[in-house]
């Protein structure tokens, strides 16, 4: 491996009472690469992500961020390290504009009041770095945006403050064909910026379109971690459903 993983989970365990959801999971994500996390419903994807976000800390296991052991015990800690999660149900306020949404909770102040110009410039710059052309004005209300545009704003929000790891939870689930394409392009550009992207998706076409690595969770265990170019759709479906076993080296 040319580059070291920015985030490395080793032997992660999490249970809710008697129900063991994660049974010693390993996961790596590399800067500038898209790592797809796939698995059937109930495989433990959400639990794994909530641990990364610091919302539900893991019971045991090691988390290394840029080689250093860290404890993700709160959302604040995760976001301090530069781990951002874009949830499936978009966390945007319809009644606010794009800039206000991107800066929500971390507004730039000067003399105790908003520095709107500064926020507007940073928002526009972030969108430009992601080559977003689908919005005409950063002062548009989110209520006037399409599903794809909203997803774009949510992703742009996550990288506004130089995120190192961005987790996208089913970003294309509710989108049409053209908008899905736009969002996938955006995922690619996110990785170009050097961000380690972890993409959760049920849509294998999307996964193969953008992912560099594919990690498959099956009943709380990581059954395969492979380079996208070294595998194919049938194999991945097999790993997801448990009908095939991966015997190669874990990438």
């Amino acid at each position: 491996m040319a580059e070291a993983p920015i985030i490395e989970l080793t032997n992660i365990v999490k249970s809710f009472g008697p129900v063991s959801v994660l049974k010693g999971v390993n996961l790596r994500a590399y800067p500038g690469k898209v790592t797809a996390l796939v698995g059937d419903n109930g495989a433990g994807k959400s639990t794994l992500i909530k641990g990364l976000a610091g919302v539900q800390p893991y019971d045991s296991g090691e988390v290394r961020f840029a080689g250093e052991a860290v404890h993700l015990h709160s959302p604040r800690e995760a976001s301090r390290l530069g781990i951002e999660v874009v949830y499936q149900d978009l966390a945007l306020c319809d009644n606010l504009d794009i800039v206000q949404n991107m800066f929500l909770g971390r507004e730039e102040l000067g003399f105790g009041t908003f520095d709107e110009g500064l926020m507007e410039r940073e928002a526009a710059e972030t969108l430009r770095q992601l080559s977003v052309r689908t919005v005409s004005s950063v002062r548009q209300k989110v209520s006037s945006l399409s599903g794809g545009q909203r997803q774009t704003v949510a992703i742009a929000r996550s990288v506004l403050k130089k995120a190192k790891v961005v987790v996208l939870d089913e970003p294309t689930a509710a989108l049409g064909v053209a908008q899905t394409e736009q969002v996938l392009e955006l995922v690619g550009r996110l990785a170009e910026q050097g961000v380690a992207v972890i993409l959760i998706s049920h849509n294998l076409a999307d996964v193969f379109a953008v992912a560099d690595y594919i990690s498959v969770l099956y009943l709380g265990q990581m059954v395969a971690s492979v380079k996208a170019e070294d595998t194919n759709r049938d194999d991945i479906v097999g790993y997801i459903t448990g009908s095939k076993t991966y015997n190669g080296v874990q990438a």
Binding site: G32, K33, V34, P75, R76, S79, Y87, D89, L90, A91, L92, C93, D94, N95, L96, Q100, N101, L104, G105, R106, E107, L109, G110, G112, T113, F114, D115, E116, G117, L118, E120, R121, A124, E125, L127, R128, Q129, S131, V132, R133, V135, S136, S137, V138, R139, Q140, K141, S143, S144, E181, L184, E185, G188, R189, A191, E192, A209, V210, D212
Partner: protein, 432 residues
């Protein structure tokens, strides 16, 4: 089109893009263009349902023209001054309620909060001989305490605000009865309180007030523009600043000029802007400043728009809700102060009837009961609409019942406009 793997795609480094394109060229900020472009953009927003106070302003103009035709007294200086003082209590209560309505909450106890705190005030002054300023401070602190109480049960315990404040609406009527006594009535004996509604500033002070408003408006506009320039983002064309100042100058000028004429009926001339006007404008300005330019204000809108999104963004949702109820109850005390200044006495039913008019004022002015949309100015304009209905119908000597029927009809009309504009803005009719 295929989606290239990241490594194959061209690499647009930020510096490179910066060198070739300015921010404005790629993504606009809605600030560009001439006055006509801005006007078109505004019309576009209105068509998409962001009407703000436009329907209320239209309603105010139409009602004023109608009453001017129907009653020769409507357009007199005396009636105009009367209209302003009649509206002031409702303007204040409407503005108080905006803080909780923006959260999608309601405070049905705001009216009786104003009544109860004034009962306490007047008893402290008249019976216990307190200094009026100390009594007023106690009344305000009681308002803070009431807001803290409501906020605790709504924001912390999670009881719907409708239920908590309905309970207080009933309970406070009982407390008023206990404090004042059934059938009791206390006269307001504090000249400073009475002068709020019944005394006027000198004529020169009215013009000075207008000059201060213009200066503050110009100052904030230029300050904002300087800040945007420093950040390197485009400003709206400066012509808009002059247009805004022109509008303030014309409307304010007409109002101050009318109020500067002698409107006395007896031997003593009466002229000048009523003292309540600058007090109300100062609170309107301060509240708008907080809502538009500070984190607390922005988070009120965010929580009202999508509380879960606000929570995930790190906003302390409980604290914001809690504080908004405190602000509402405290401003309600000031509306109570205006009310007793106008009426001149306090009885055990103080503030019982006004709260729904306050909610109506906010809604008529364009504040959405669904939360997240509306401004303090909207509630003030809505209150003026309701006051003009009461005032005009009163001049026509119509039975009091007509007043309620017309006000109710206007409220339903306004709520319909709100709901329909929500649909056009892309939302749904029901609260999500």
């Amino acid at each position: 089109m295929t989606i290239g793997a990241p490594s194959q795609a061209p690499d647009p480094t930020p510096t490179d893009v910066l060198a070739t394109r300015s921010t404005a060229e790629l993504i606009g900020s809605g600030q560009e263009g001439t006055v006509m472009d801005q006007a078109r953009a505004y019309l576009q927003r209105v068509r998409h349902g962001e009407m703000g106070a436009l329907p209320a302003i239209g309603g105010f103009v139409v009602l004023s023209i109608m009453f001017a035709i129907l009653s020769p007294f409507f357009l007199t200086e005396r009636n105009f001054a009367n209209l302003l003082t009649q509206a002031a209590t409702l303007v204040m209560l409407g503005m108080a309620l905006v803080f909780v309505i923006l959260l999608g909450e309601i405070d049905l106890s705001a009216g009786v909060t104003s009544g109860l705190t004034m009962c306490i005030f007047v008893v402290l002054v008249n019976v216990n001989g307190f200094n009026w300023m100390l009594a007023l401070l106690i009344a305000l602190l009681t308002g803070v305490a009431i807001g803290t109480f409501i906020g605790f049960f709504v924001a912390r315990v999670g009881i719907p605000s409708f239920v908590v404040t309905l309970g207080l609406f009933l309970g406070f009527q009982g407390l008023e009865l206990i404090i004042i006594g059934s059938g009791g009535l206390y006269r307001v004996q504090t000249p400073e309180i009475l002068s709020i509604m019944n005394a006027n500033m000198p004529v020169w002070a009215g013009w000075a007030m207008l000059a201060v408003i213009l200066a503050v408006s110009l100052g904030t506009s230029l300050w904002d523009r300087a800040r945007r320039t420093r950040a390197g983002v485009p400003n709206r064309t400066i012509a808009l600043v002059w247009i805004k100042l022109g509008v303030i100058l014309v409307i304010g000028g007409v109002v101050v000029a009318l109020l500067s004429n002698d409107r006395g009926t007896g031997f003593k001339p009466v002229s000048g802007v009523p003292i309540v006007v600058p007090i109300t404008l100062a609170i309107l300005w301060a509240g708008t400043f907080v809502l538009d330019r500070t984190k607390f204000g922005r988070y009120i809108y965010a929580v009202g728009g999508n509380a879960e999104a606000a929570r995930r963004a790190g906003v302390k949702v409980v604290l914001i809700r809690w504080t908004a109820f405190i602000v509402c109850s405290t401003l309600a005390v000031i509306s109570g102060l205006f009310s007793i200044s106008k009426v001149g006495s306090v009885d055990a039913a103080a503030g019982r009837d006004i709260v729904l008019s306050g909610v109506a004022a906010a809604v008529v002015g364009g504040v959405s009961l669904f939360g997240g949309r509306g401004r303090l100015l909207h509630a003030a304009i809505g209150a003026l609409v309701i006051a003009v209905i009461t005032n005009g119908l009163g001049l026509l000597n119509l039975p009091a019942g007509v007043n309620y029927v017309v006000t109710g009809a206007v409220l339903i009309l306004a709520a319909t406009v709100d709901a329909v504009s929500r649909v056009r803005a892309g939302g749904s009719l029901t609260r999500r």
